[in-house]
């Protein structure tokens, strides 16, 4: 009975896995195909003559590594700043009380509901007057303020931590800043990991931000890739698009696989067990 049930779950999971991973497979297959293999019928499910030159082509059609460096700089800068700032604010909303808290929290929630673009274009006009367009300052400023979604995530996590942890520390004479830094922050490393991964991949993957705020010289890989690789007739070249996309996506997947230890199982562990 138990064996039959487990086998059924296994088969279901394996089938789902095949379904979910097949797009990666097609991306890899297309990335290795020679241009002559792209428009044939019946379709080639496997590259008959794998052509690794596509990757070189994808790297040199435009300054791929230069744009990757831009993406990496922005994403790292933002991820570190926004995670610390969000944990900081999330702790305040979860564990501290003061007049006006309800109102401020209400504002935070409605900010989370804000269509990002509603502020993005006026912000663009504002930043261009301040000469901050085509610099990474917008990402620094956004990072330092924390992101509502991440603040909410930290707030949820900190709210669920037992009150005893805090009370013991207060009895010991621990100040609020130290309670945050020594007790709550170390406990929240699964949320920190989540926040880092989320904010890094948002920024690495963000399209509309850099498309608005950065010109062609400063923009990110996402913007450059989205236009794709087109030939002299303006038609996209699928094999170059695929190899460019592989090199863009794989670092994110590798980063996730390295950092996911404890990320999945530890996301909701609380202080007392």
């Amino acid at each position: 009975m138990v064996f039959a049930r487990r086998s059924a779950i296994y088969m279901l999971l394996v089938a789902l896995l095949a379904l979910f991973l097949s797009p990666f497979g097609w991306l890899a297959v297309t990335a290795l195909k020679d241009a002559s293999e792209l428009r044939v019928l019946p379709i080639h499910w496997w590259p008959h003559d794998p052509n690794p030159d596509n990757f070189a082509g994808a790297l040199t059609t435009f300054d791929y590594l230069g744009y990757a460096r831009n993406s990496l700089t922005i994403a790292t800068l933002y991820a570190v700043l926004v995670t610390l700032a969000s944990a900081w604010a999330g702790f305040g909303f979860a564990r501290l009380n003061a007049p006006g808290k309800r109102a401020i929290f209400g504002v935070l929630m409605s900010t989370m509901m804000m269509p990002t673009i509603i502020t993005l274009i006026p912000t663009y006009l504002m930043f261009s007057k301040l000469h901050l367009v085509n610099t990474y300052m917008p990402w620094v400023l956004w990072g330092l303020c924390g992101a509502p979604y991440l603040i909410f995530l930290f707030r949820q996590f900190f709210s669920n931590m037992p009150k005893e942890l805090e009370e013991a520390a207060i009895v010991d004479g621990c100040g609020t800043f130290r309670i945050f830094l020594r007790i709550f922050l170390p406990q929240s490393w699964p949320v920190i990991a989540t926040s880092m991964i989320l904010s890094f991949s948002w920024t690495w993957g963000d399209y509309i931000g850099p498309a608005l705020f950065l010109d062609d010289a400063h923009t990110t890989l996402a913007v450059k890739l989205a236009g794709g690789y087109v030939n002299a007739h303006g038609e996209p070249m699928p094999n170059l698009v695929a190899s460019g996309a592989v090199m863009y996506v794989v670092p994110v997947l590798v980063l996730f696989l390295i950092m996911q230890r404890g990320f999945v199982s530890g996301i909701a562990t609380s202080g007392l067990k």
Partner: protein, 341 residues
Amino acid sequence: MSSGQLLKDSARVVPSPSSGAAARPRRKRLSLRQRRQGAFYAFTGPWVLGFLGLTAYPLGYALWLSFTNSDGLSNRSRFVGLANYREVFTDPDTLASLGRTAVFTGITVPLSILAGLILAVLVNQPIRARGLFRTLLYLPAVVPPVGAALTFKLIFDRDSGAANGVLDLLGINGISWLTDPYARWVLIVLTMWGVGNVMIVSLAGLQDIPRELLEAARVDGASSFQSFTRITLPLLSPVIFFQVVTGIIATLQSFAPLLIALNPTPAGVTSVPQSNYFYMIDVFAQFFANGRYGYASAMLWVLFAIIILVTLLLFKISKSAVFYSVEPESAKNKPRTIGDA
């Protein structure tokens, strides 16, 4: 923190009230509550400042723009009152794009939450290699939007895509997937590919449910279906609610169709097929193709109002449907024991 460090901290901190009392008597009267109030403002202050400068100010600017006929460039814009708003509510194209977005939201949000919950339950079963299953099912959700969009453009490419390859095996002629009326299905499939996000949050919620509760239920003779509906779902409802709210908000403002369009640039919005012409695509078109900053700002404010209304409605419903097991303010009244449950 090591116990030695903890002891050292206590030794340094404990005598301080008496010495502080001698030097600064007022400091002593600052109660714990007052100090923690000050700390609240210190902790939330940076965000409040950022909100004022980077959200409230731009938002007010957009509101001002929405009452003008500004094109964002020239200084010749003038006040037009509510004309832009009147146009939003009467223009058939704008209303159609809003309806299209609502339908897409109504399909993908419940579908994602249901599928994500099923996946979470599956990968929470006590089976071998479940960590691997979790990781690999979540993997697509990590793929950046542009990468995912490019991948699906390749799969659904008319000439070289796998989708038409499968149809060819079945003896069916190829379809132009990325054009009307099929583009909407490509977008739904693309959205569902990232369902791992929902799975991982639901899974975290599942793991937060005390195992003792489920064991007690089993001892009392509850079936696994009963303990799922009576224990797991109520305890999971805050997590599900959180995902409904954020899912709807994110989908209503989605501009994902732009990324699978023929020409995925802000100026290329006109290449988005009709069936994927969402409200936000219309906003982009008004901003970048037509240069109607005033009208587009009004559209944004209308969307903002809709989102606020929907969210308020959801929170109202949630009062009866969502079960919060631990509330920090009233923790004393609700001991976290299961002894007499």
